[in-house]
Every structure is written in structure tokens, then in C-alpha cells.
């Protein structure tokens, strides 16, 4: 079928052809192929361009370590994904794959000019220039750098896919389904433990997939595992992070491999808590550092074996091996046995295992010991190599079309490192191996150093007779970090491995240094003449491989991003065409516009209606806490600023709550229902905070008090009926309560029924009008609301929202905590000294009110402001000055906290925090706005019915 496919080899289905395109050109692969193997089979070697120099690149590896072959996949309809590794893309019918970071085409990329100029762009070049002229950085240099940087394009459309998420618990979590992981799963399952086995590939088997001698064992083992009900197998799942207490994050890919992704979840986040974790993640082969080691066709020896044995693809017809480790020899032998010509085995070592030499001889493979590749011919594909003895002598050219690199193995200790397990340097491996564990975790197989790949030597850069300043020998392929970049960093004083990494960007590409970290360490070790373990190791951080934002966000999207709290009356308001606003987690009706009304018109109408007749308002979002117990009054007395013990049952009181630092944190009107029972209210946003604060004091400071606190916010619907007609509206509906002014005065509470529903009826007012707040069980809220609404029709009742509520309360000078206070305001600052119990020895925050700065003069105090021009409505947040003609920076003495058009007064009103405000009554202050200054007079923050005559009816 294709030039590089070898019949009879591999696990791909020969009969099942799969059509796909790469950069628009049509190709055919086989079911079971990765995009990488399918392209190789078609003789496509050039798959990408490097980050900085735009060098032509082919495959380096066959798995998660791949740094070069980065691909964009467009599935249409907003399903565009950049930066996917060709080795991790499963082939499916119709796959539309595109190369990246090139223009106009992969073959002819103008960006490759950077490669020619590469010597002017060494590590850290951007720190040394682009500084003159100063303004050019943002205008010219930076945009140019940005355009050259980046890999693939970002998606341009909102992602139509959905993502799933779950929690899972198990006795044993095994990461990696190679031979070690599968054996561990079988062993653990025999003891009836609950086991989860995770593997990032589509097929379980790990390294065994590239070793046909293990296939019978693999098939048998997978059959056994499939039968076990206590084992969960998760292929296509990447364990990406290992967090505290054996908590592992993993993402399962559900639809990426399907020709039609359908409507199901694209990926699923698994949050797994495991009793024991077994890491069997294997090891990744290391490339070798020599000039030309990045030409397409130069790749890891183990990758070539994987392409051969798993996919039935030869990576070349005439292949050379450059080895410093035994394992590459066996890979070359496997290719030779499959009929691929081996041009030569070049090994830096003078002596190697006689068994290897014998096998090479048997296969008729030329061997060059004590030698190294010193150059690679070809630009878009390997055309040959130059080799030399380690001392630089005996230079010779060899023809070949692929070069395998066998530089030894790096155990995949990523997750181990996330778990804060210790690492120990192993001379045998030339790598770090797991040491002392920090969690209940074991490492098996190659990732634990418990696997034999043979032996080898480990050098930073292969010896070369060439001038090191003139060659590009790559260490980090994707980020184009060369050996001389590492040398330059060290020359410039970057001696810590973290400095080298950050200065050169080695290990910071999308492969996160899987193939480059150890080589960089070896290079640094050689340059600094210090052992590798003295250089250190950069810390591995999650994720092991890049993971989709969508998967990590999980279900938290749109309406589920944060559930919206709604009151029982919310649907009614929605049906009435209310405009809503988000307040804390709630949504509240802001105003109820009639046809053609904007907010200001609607609010003016609503305000006048409440003042003249009656309005109905949904106050259900107010926080509510039931405080019960023989010491309830004592408890509230200690919490709130004002006295509570003398409050008669049936009466209400405004409560002011401070933090211990003396600043106002919450307020609300609360009622005493019985000697041992209070109904507290809090602000909408403060409910949870206040309950937590009260529980804290009750449980930890005053455990001797016999009090119980219960959140009842959602148990009660609260219907405020406010206005001169309020009593008339509700009277026909109420039974068991004498509503007359004498029997039921302002700031009182009664229990009875309304519409046959039990109620706690508060006579309270946040408007300055005669008002009631009807508390009924939530389930009856809508029913009672509609009954009041019907009863109010005869009186012209209107619904009003939060905006009107704000105006009405401001006309009366009532504060809103969080708007007229900001966490730095004391009761005295807010003019609420009447709410502070002077005779109380203590309450929360009292001591702080005596601190020097709190009793000092000049604190910002809450006052009213009336603009000289009554039509002028100040902007909330506008700043106040004494002298509007002073230069900038001006001395600001305060700011406008609340400001509205008052329809009732026919003018604007405002409240403000002003330094020394109480002593400025009658003064004219200035509010400088862009281009003009507004003047306003300081007044008491009480604009309407100062004597309260409208309340006492």
C-alpha cells in the first residue's frame, strides 16, 4: 500500500484503509495508526517547524515525549485544536490535520530566515537589545517577536463541546498499563481490592505493544483483566497530576478518535482518591546531542522500533544508528530482521557487550565503535551522516535516510515528583530514580529503575572536531535550544539549573523537557565541572502532558458555572418582565419596566407609587438566622453593638455587627419572638459570613452559652408591602393579628396567619413608609405574594425592585452595608452611634473602637449631599474636594457612596463619606468631573420625612 509499510508487521488492520488529509493533501492510513505512523508510512517526514528558528522537523519519538510534530486538527464547527502531537492523534476517517508555525507552507517557510540569522538570536538575545528607541518596543519589536512566536493558531470560536467530570475512589490506582502496570493490576485484583488501571494510549500494553514476543501474554492478561469486576480499565486517559494525600487528576479522552464526535462529552476529568498509587509510567529514551540531530529522519531508536513493530512502518530504507547505550542496538537489529538495511551502528563506546557485536556480525551490520556522528546531510530529510572517531580522526561520510539515536533512558518520574517523592541520582541510568516516598506510592518497572534496557554511557554532547560555535546541536528540539545556548547561559553566570532553564527556555516547551532535561544537565555538569547531582533538577510540575481547559473546568459552565439562587417569587417577576441584577449568588429583580420605560422612568414611577399608595417587594434573599436558647439574648448582646437583653418579645431591633477590628461588617433588623428565640436578618451577601462568624464565637469563645443557630434564609419567603395603603392591602388576608397602629406598632413582630398560611409578620420599614414584611414558609411564598398582589389591585399596588428600594432608603438616610460602608467604616463614622450600647462592657469590635486612629479627628463620616443644581445626579464613586482649582494630585476628602434622582423630592440626593463630615454641615464642597466641577452642600443624610410621621400611623 505504501513505500514504508511492511506487510505482516504491526497491530494495524491491513484491510481497513482510513482516509485523511495533511495540509490539504489526501493520504491513506490504516485503522490503528497514529497520525505519525500514517504519515511515515506515506513517506512524509517533514511534519512541523521549530519554535524559534523555524527549522524543518520530523518525528523525534512515538509517544507523549514528541516535541517536533505538532499538529492542528480542525473538526469543523468551532472544534479547532492546535498543538496536538502527531504521535497522540489516532487516525480516523476524514481527519483534517495541518502543520503549524509556517508561512506560506511547511516546505517553504519564510520564517526559516531566522535559522540563517540564528547566531544573532542566542539565548537571552531579547534582554540585550530592542531597547532603542524606547517607544519601538511596544510599537515594533514586541509585535514582531509575538508574531514569530507561538506555535499553532488559537481557536477562534466558542467550543461547542461539553466536558464531563467525576470523582472516583479505589484501593489501588495504577498509572501505566505496560507490563509492570498490568502485572500490578492482576496482583492487586486477586486480593479483591478495588483497582483502577490508567493508560494514556488508546491500547493498553505500553512498551509491550512494540514487542511482538509479549503479545500473547498481553492478550491473555487483558482478557483476564476484562473479566474482573473490581478492576476499572481506563485507556485514553492521562494521569496528569499527583496532589496531596493520593489525589490524582486524570483526563479521559472520549471522542477525539471518532470520525463523528457526536454530542457526548469530549473529555472527562477523573478526580481519583487512591489508597495506594502504583506508578508504572515507563521510561523515555534520550536523544543524543550532535550537529544536525534535528533533521527530519533523525529520531529515537525506540521510536523506530515502535513504528516498526506496532504500526508496521519502517522509518527508512537505509538506517544508521548512533548509540551510547545498548538498547539501540536491539532496535537496529529488529529493523534489520524486518528487512531494513542498517547503514551502520555507530557507538561512542570503545567496547560493547560481545553478544551485541556477535548479533551485528550475524546480521552483517557494519559497526563503528569509539565513534560519533558529527554531522547530518539533508535539510528536509536525512541524506547521509558524517562520522568520526571520538578524537576527531577518521572522518567519513555514510549514506543513509534515517538516523536512530540511543542515548539511554530517563525514567518517567513526573507524577512521583508531583507527589514530592525524593529523587536519587543513578550513575547506571544517568538519570534520577525514585527515592524516599512522600505518599503511599510505589514505582514499578522502568519508571522505578526496575527494568533492564542494558548499559550505556551518558555524555552531554557527542565529541566533534568541529568548532562548537559553528554547529547547531539541539538539546530542546521544540524551543530550539542548542548545546551552545546552554554553554552561553553558563558563561553568562547562569549556574543554577533553574537559571539555565529560564535563560535558554530549555525544558519549557510543550513537552516540558521530557527528552531535553537530562541532556541539559549533562551539558551543564560538563561545563561547570561539577557532578550532575550537584547541578540539581528542575522541578516537575503538573500537568504531565498538556490538558484541556474545558476538561479541567468540567461541568462548571454557563448556568452551572455557579448556580443562580432564585427566590420563590422569581418566576413571577420574570413573567412580569422584570430586569434582574446579580447580587452575591442571587439574582434579584432590579426594576419592573412598563412598555417604553427605561430604568430611570420605571424607578421614578415605582418610587412615587410606594410613597403615594403601596408597593410590593421581594425581600426573600435577606439572610435569616434563628437564634434559640436560654442564653440567646446574652449571645446577641455580645455579638452586636447595641443592647439586646431588654428587648421585649414581640419587638424588633436594628442590629449592627462589627468585625473584631471595629469596622461594620453587617446589619439587619431582628425580632425577639420569645424570651429564648430570635429571628435575625442579615444582608443578602452576608448571610453565610455572619452565621460562620457567630458559630465561631459561640463554639470557641463562649461554649458556656446555651444557644443554637440555624440558617433559615431559604425557609422563609419575605414579602415586603410598603406604602400608606400597606395595612389596607394586607388586612383582609391576615387573621389572628391586630394590625392597628396601637396594637402593632412600628418595629414589632406578630405571629398569625395570612391566606391561611402561618406567618411571622414584621412591621418594619426600609422605605420610611408604613410597611410590613410578611415571612411565610417558602413553599407558600408565591401563593401569598399573588394573594397580596390581587388584594392590592384596588389600591394601585405596583411591584418594585432593588433599585427603587435603594432610592427609598436613601431618601431616609438608611445605609447599605458594602455601599455606604466599605470595610473601613466604624459605627461612629456612619453616624450610627445611637446603635452602639454605651453602657455595654464589651461586644465584638468594641475594643478596636478605642484605638488611636479610630478616635482621631478627620475620619471620613457619612453625610448627605445636595447638589446646587437639583437636576444634577452625582456619579456614585465620584470624589470630593475642598478646592477644585488645586493641581493634580488633588487632596480628596471623600467620595459619593449613594446617589439617586428622588422623584418624591423632585431633585437629586446623595450620601457621601467625607473627612470630618459631621462638622461640615452647610459647607459647599466640590466634585470635580472630567471637564467640569459640580458643587454640593453638606447636609444631614435624611431627605424625607425627617420626623418619621409617615411611619407612626
Amino acid at each position: 500500500m505504501s513505500a514504508y509499510r511492511i506487510s505482516g508487521l504491526g497491530r494495524v488492520a491491513e484491510a481497513a484503509a482510513v482516509n485523511f488529509t495533511f495540509d490539504g493533501k489526501r493520504y491513506q492510513g490504516r485503522a490503528g495508526d497514529s497520525l505519525a505512523s500514517a504519515l511515515l508510512a506515506n513517506g512524509v517526514l517533514l511534519m512541523g517547524r521549530s519554535f524559534k528558528y523555524h527549522r524543518p522537523r520530523g518525528l523525534l519519538g512515538a509517544g507523549a515525549e514528541e516535541p517536533n510534530a505538532l499538529i492542528s486538527v480542525d473538526r469543523g464547527g468551532g472544534r479547532f485544536t492546535p498543538n496536538l502531537r502527531a504521535t497522540a492523534i489516532e487516525l480516523y476517517e476524514g481527519l483534517d490535520a495541518r502543520s503549524q508555525n509556517r508561512w506560506p507552507s511547511l516546505q517553504n517557510d519564510l520564517g526559516a530566515i531566522n535559522d540563517r540569522l540564528g547566531r544573532f538570536f542566542p539565548a537571552g538575545f531579547y534582554n540585550k537589545t530592542f531597547m532603542w528607541p524606547r517607544s519601538f518596543w511596544e510599537k515594533l519589536y514586541e509585535p514582531a517577536i509575538r508574531r514569530m512566536a507561538g506555535l499553532g493558531d488559537a481557536p477562534t470560536d466558542a467550543d461547542p463541546d461539553v466536558y464531563d467530570a467525576c470523582y472516583a475512589h479505589c484501593d489501588v490506582l495504577i498509572v501505566g498499563a505496560g507490563p509492570a502496570g498490568i502485572d500490578a493490576a492482576l496482583a492487586a485484583s486477586a486480593s479483591k481490592k478495588k483497582v483502577i488501571l490508567i493508560d494514556e494510549q488508546d491500547e493498553l500494553g505500553g512498551g509491550a505493544l512494540a514487542d511482538p514476543t509479549l503479545w500473547p501474554w498481553l492478550a491473555e492478561s487483558l482478557k483476564d483483566l476484562a473479566k474482573l469486576t473490581n478492576v476499572t480499565l481506563l485507556p485514553r486517559t492521562t494521569a496528569f497530576g499527583y496532589y496531596h494525600d493520593n489525589f490524582i487528576g486524570a483526563v479521559e479522552r472520549l471522542t477525539e478518535h471518532l470520525p463523528d464526535p457526536g454530542h457526548g462529552a469530549r473529555e472527562k476529568l477523573w478526580r481519583i482518591r487512591a489508597g495506594e498509587v502504583v506508578l508504572a509510567q515507563g521510561a523515555i529514551e534520550r536523544p543524543l546531542v550532535f550537529a544536525g540531530n534535528d533533521v527530519p529522519g533523525v529520531m529515537l531508536a525506540s521510536a523506530a522500533r515502535t513504528y516498526l513493530n506496532r504500526f508496521g512502518v519502517a522509518v527508512g530504507r537505509n538506517v544508521a544508528l548512533m548509540a551510547t547505550h545498548d538498547s539501540g542496538w536491539r532496535d537496529a537489529f529488529a529493523l534489520a530482521r524486518a528487512g531494513v538495511r542498517i547503514a551502520a551502528i555507530v557507538d561512542l563506546r570503545e567496547t560493547v557487550d560481545a553478544v551485541l557485536l556477535a548479533e551485528a556480525a550475524e546480521l552483517g551490520v557494519r559497526v563503528e565503535l569509539g565513534s560519533a556522528v558529527i554531522g547530518v546531510a539533508g535539510r528536509h530529510a536525512v541524506e547521509g551522516i558524517e562520522i568520526a572517531r571520538a578524537d576527531g580522526s577518521a572522518r567519513q561520510q555514510l549514506d543513509c535516510d534515517a538516523v536512530l539515536m540511543a542515548g539511554g533512558w530517563t525514567p518517567s518520574v513526573h507524577l512521583w515528583s508531583h507527589s514530592l517523592g525524593k529523587l536519587e541520582w543513578s550513575e547506571d541510568w544517568g538519570a534520577y530514580l525514585p527515592g524516599k516516598a512522600n505518599e503511599n506510592v510505589r514505582c514499578l518497572g522502568a519508571c522505578g529503575g526496575k527494568w533492564s534496557f542494558g548499559s550505556g554511557v551518558y555524555v552531554g554532547q557527542l565529541p566533534t572536531p568541529k568548532n562548537p560555535a559553528t554547529i547547531k546541536a539541539f538539546v530542546d528540539f521544540q524551543n530550539d535550544v542548542t548545546a551552545k545556548d546552554i554553554a552561553l547561559a553558563i558563561r553568562e553566570g547562569m549556574k543554577s539549573v533553574e537559571h539555565i532553564k529560564r535563560y535558554t527556555t530549555n525544558g519549557m516547551a510543550t513537552d516540558q523537557g521530557k527528552t531535553s532535561n537530562l541532556n541539559a544537565l549533562q551539558l551543564a555538569s560538563a561545563a561547570l565541572d561539577r557532578p550532575v547531582q550537584a547541578i540539581g533538577l528542575t522541578t516537575f510540575r503538573p500537568p504531565y502532558t498538556p490538558q484541556t481547559f474545558g476538561a479541567l473546568a468540567g461541568h462548571a459552565k454557563d448556568a452551572l458555572f455557579q448556580p443562580t439562587r432564585k427566590t420563590p417569587i422569581d418566576p413571577w417577576a420574570e413573567a412580569q418582565g422584570a430586569v434582574f441584577e446579580p447580587v452575591a449568588q442571587w439574582r434579584r429583580a432590579r426594576y419592573f419596566p412598563k412598555a417604553g420605560e427605561d430604568m430611570h422612568a420605571a424607578v421614578a414611577r415605582e418610587c412615587l407609587a410606594v410613597r403615594q399608595s403601596v408597593g410590593i417587594f421581594d425581600a426573600s434573599t435577606l439572610g435569616k438566622i434563628e437564634v434559640v436558647g436560654p442564653d440567646a439574648a446574652e449571645f446577641l448582646n455580645r455579638m452586636y453593638t447595641n443592647p439586646w437583653k431588654g428587648l421585649e418579645p414581640g419587638r424588633c431591633r436594628y442590629g449592627l455587627l462589627l468585625r473584631e477590628d471595629g469596622f461594620i461588617t453587617d446589619d439587619g433588623v431582628s425580632a425577639r419572638l420569645a424570651p429564648d428565640r430570635f429571628h435575625l436578618t442579615t444582608t443578602t451577601g452576608g448571610a453565610a459570613r455572619v452565621l460562620n462568624m457567630m458559630e465561631d464565637y459561640l463554639q470557641t469563645e463562649w461554649p458556656d452559652l446555651n444557644v443554637w443557630l440555624t440558617s433559615t434564609t431559604e425557609q422563609w419567603a419575605v414579602i415586603a408591602v410598603q406604602g400608606p395603603k400597606a395595612r389596607e392591602v394586607i388586612a383582609p388576608l391576615v387573621s389572628g393579628i391586630d394590625l392597628s397602629g396601637d396594637a402593632f406598632p412600628h418595629m414589632a413582630v406578630r405571629e398569625g396567619t395570612i391566606c391561611g398560611v402561618p406567618t411571622r409578620l414584621f412591621r418594619v420599614s426600609f422605605t420610611g413608609e408604613l410597611g410590613f414584611e410578611i415571612n411565610v414558609p417558602s413553599a407558600y411564598g408565591r401563593h401569598v405574594w399573588e394573594a397580596v398582589w390581587q388584594a392590592g389591585q384596588a389600591h394601585g399596588i405596583i411591584p418594585y425592585g432593588t433599585e427603587t428600594m435603594h432610592v427609598l432608603r436613601a431618601e431616609k438616610g438608611f445605609i447599605i452595608v458594602g455601599q455606604d460602608t466599605d470595610g473601613t467604616v466604624t459605627p461612629y463614622d456612619a453616624g450610627l452611634d445611637w446603635a452602639v450600647g454605651k453602657k455595654k462592657a464589651d461586644f465584638v469590635g468594641k475594643r478596636s473602637l478605642a484605638r488611636p486612629d479610630i478616635v482621631a479627628n478627620g475620619r471620613k463620616q457619612l453625610v448627605g449631599l445636595l447638589t446646587d443644581d437639583p437636576a444634577e445626579v452625582l456619579v456614585e464613586g465620584a470624589q470630593i474636594v475642598e478646592d477644585p482649582n488645586q493641581p493634580i494630585p488633588m487632596k480628596m476628602i471623600g467620595h459619593v457612596t449613594s446617589s439617586y434622582w428622588s422623584a418624591s423630592l423632585g431633585r437629586s440626593i446623595a450620601m457621601a463619606l467625607v473627612a470630618g463630615g459631621f462638622d461640615r454641615m452647610g459647607d459647599t464642597l466640590h466634585v470635580p468631573m472630567p471637564g467640569r466641577t459640580i458643587t454640593a452642600k453638606v447636609v444631614k443624610p435624611m431627605f424625607y420625612d425627617a420626623e418619621g410621621s409617615r411611619l407612626n400611623v
Binding site: Y243, D245, R271, N438, D696, T700, P703, K846, R847
Partner: protein, 90 residues
């Protein structure tokens, strides 16, 4: 997400059920008005913030609702033990 043992529920549960509540064993003075500004500052704001063994408070807010104390190593994040509010410093 760390696992936390609630001494009231006698159960080990994930962190999402709990709310951290700051350093433990900072008792509110019985008579705050008798304190100097410096002593009041110490109560309000000064914290040990040790690198290592830390006595701290947690609340099983989405469980039993109780506040309790713990000793945790702030370098490893591992708990040494948890104990009920009111018990002496461990």
C-alpha cells in the same frame, strides 16, 4: 485536596467539606478594654506563621459544623493530628 480528620465525626473527609479558620489557641481576651493597644494588636493581628508545626483551626462547615483544632506541618501540608476545640494545645 488534602484529607482532614474531623474529631467530632471521627471521619476523614476531603478538604472541600472544611473551612480553614486561622491559627489556633488565640483566645479572645476576657476583658478587651483592659488591654493596651499593643496587646490588642497582638490578639487581632500577630500570627506565628511558622515554617513547620502549626496549631490551626478548621471548621467542618459542610459536615457537622464544628470548629476543631489541628497540628499540621506547613512545609509538607501533612496533619499530625486533629483535636476538639477546648482541648489544650498539642
Amino acid at each position: 485536596m488534602i484529607l482532614i480528620h474531623c474529631p467530632y465525626c471521627d471521619d476523614t473527609r476531603p478538604e472541600l467539606e472544611f473551612a480553614y479558620a486561622g491559627e489556633a489557641h488565640i483566645a479572645r481576651p476576657l476583658d478587651p478594654s483592659a488591654l493596651s493597644d499593643a496587646d490588642w494588636e497582638r490578639y487581632l493581628f500577630i500570627r506565628a506563621n511558622p515554617k513547620g508545626r502549626h496549631n490551626e483551626r478548621w471548621r467542618h462547615v459542610h459536615g457537622c459544623g464544628r470548629f476543631f483544632n489541628a497540628v499540621r506541618d506547613t512545609v509538607t501540608d501533612k496533619f499530625e493530628l486533629t483535636y476538639k476545640a477546648g482541648e489544650p494545645r498539642k
